[in-house]
């Protein structure tokens, strides 16, 4: 499973990082880092990552088909 991040759309709420801290984090200026860019999200973090995608209010995150 891979996730795409639309950085232009991201408003830096950090709701995604609340749900999946191993997958997403934000720095002090609310810039988002996606920890598995270009790689597969490890199995153990997949369901949390899906929840994170679901809670982003501006739909900046997508699970790639």
């Amino acid at each position: 499973m891979q996730i795409s991040v639309d950085h232009a759309r991201c408003e830096g709420h950090g709701l995604c990082a609340d749900q999946a801290p191993e997958v997403f984090s934000l720095d002090d200026d609310a810039e988002l880092t996606y920890h598995f860019d270009g790689a597969d999200v490890p199995d153990e973090h997949r369901s949390a990552a899906r929840v994170a995608v679901n809670v982003c209010p501006v739909a900046a995150l997508r699970v790639l088909p």
């Binding site: 408003e11 830096g12 950090g14 709701l15 934000l26 899906r50 679901n54 209010p57 739909a59 699970v63």
Partner: protein
């Protein structure tokens, strides 16, 4: 864990979060979601922000439940029988459940007399599309209600060059954000082209189609568009006769359990029942719907929830300025400025409380929730830095 069939009614944030959480908790039994909207699940907060300005924003709203093996039914629920444990839909089908999660949210409250045409509201994607297209040709607009939604809609009107007047008995956002922020935000809104009118009683929509509002003193304001942003009503008609719902919606406890065994509820359809923290209360916001969707899913499986059914993160946009809030509301009195200044449109503010967490507001400032929470919890300490 016993395999149980879980039925979720309402295909939006609370419902989809519950569905995901059921699977995340290892539930392999059947999960069905009944949803009334043909579009399926989508995110509402952008409807009053990006969507009103940019038609291109529509595509990115949708949320999917791919790969979770969830049966989706697109037909509104019309009745529930909690003793037989069934829910009936408009198309005449009946669904059995072992556990039911009610997540039917709320609908926009209208003020015009029933049958009057032309009153606009904003709750669904179709509402947003209609309002957006009307904004293309409108020469003026009135927004009834100066709460979060009303101020966002007014901001979108102004951003699109449509002169707009907001009417309310309260000053903009004062009821929740208090006098200090209300004054700062009202000045901002006025400078942005939003005219704010405080009335001494409720405004009543006039005309058919609606083309204005009558103010209590007998003055009538007219405009091409009248948008009512006067709160929401929980969607509970389909629960008639079950005793589950009252005026404030479906009452839930700390575990999102309702008064009926096997029935749980989450999101904008709910209110938290009175407890040691406070009286019966509604909190129809995004983060709450997420928190409650997760708790309801655990409870439906007979597991002890790991989280609480409330989350006090909230955000809005006023006249182009982003506001992010963590901590208890309403606010009263003056804040401590931790960073920046309100005059310059960029500030980090805290409202301290003697007996509990502070409220922290990022005013026009990009700050992640975690940083705001840390500041709210540190209270005194960080605020005096």
């Amino acid at each position: 864990m016993t395999p149980r069939s879980v039925l979720i009614v309402g295909e939006s944030l609370a419902g989809t979060t519950a569905a995901r959480e059921l699977r995340a908790l290892g539930h392999t039994g059947p999960v069905t979601i009944i949803g009334a909207e043909p579009h399926g699940a989508y995110s509402r907060p952008p409807l009053s922000k990006a969507v009103l300005r940019d038609p291109g924003a529509d595509d990115a709203l949708f949320q999917d439940l791919d790969g979770l093996d969830i049966h989706i039914v697109r037909s509104a629920a019309t009745a529930a029988d909690t003793s037989r444990r069934t829910v009936t839909t408009t198309d005449g089908r009946e669904f059995r459940y072992d556990a039911l999660i009610i997540a039917t949210g709320a609908e926009a409250r209208r003020l015009a007399a029933p049958g009057r045409r032309g009153e606009l509201v904003l709750r669904t994607l179709d509402d947003a599309r209609l309002l957006r297209s009307r904004l293309e040709t409108a020469a003026s607009a009135i927004v009834v209600g100066a709460g979060f939604l009303g101020m966002e809609v007014a901001g979108a009107c102004a951003a699109r060059g449509v002169p707009v007047t907001v009417v309310d008995v309260h000053r903009p956002l004062e009821r929740i954000l208090g006098g200090y922020l209300s004054a700062a935000l009202t000045a901002r809104a006025e400078a942005y082209g939003i005219s704010c009118v405080q009335t001494f009683g409720f405004a009543v929509p006039t005309g058919d189609p609606v083309r204005g509002v009558m103010l209590p003193g007998g003055t009538e304001l007219t405009a091409d568009l009248v948008v009512t942003c006067a709160g929401e009503t929980p969607c509970t008609d389909w629960l008639a006769g079950t005793g589950l719902a009252g005026q404030l919606g479906v009452g839930i406890d700390e575990t999102c359990a309702t008064a009926v065994p096997g029935v749980f509820a989450a999101g904008d359809v709910t209110h938290l029942r009175a407890d040691d923290i406070g009286p019966d209360r509604r909190a129809p916001f995004w983060s709450n719907a997420v928190a409650q969707g997760k708790v309801a899913a655990a409870s439906a499986l007979g597991l002890a929830p790991t989280g609480t059914p409330y989350d006090d993160y909230f955000w809005t946009e006023v006249a182009g300025l982003a506001l992010k809030v963590v901590g208890p509301l309403p606010l009263t009195g003056e804040p401590t400025t931790v960073e920046g200044s309100v005059e310059n449109g960029r500030a980090l503010l805290t409202w301290k409380r003697p007996d509990g967490p502070s409220t922290v507001v990022a005013y026009g400032m990009r700050k992640p929730i975690k940083a705001l929470r840390a500041l709210a919890e540190a209270g005194e300490h960080s605020a005096s830095r």
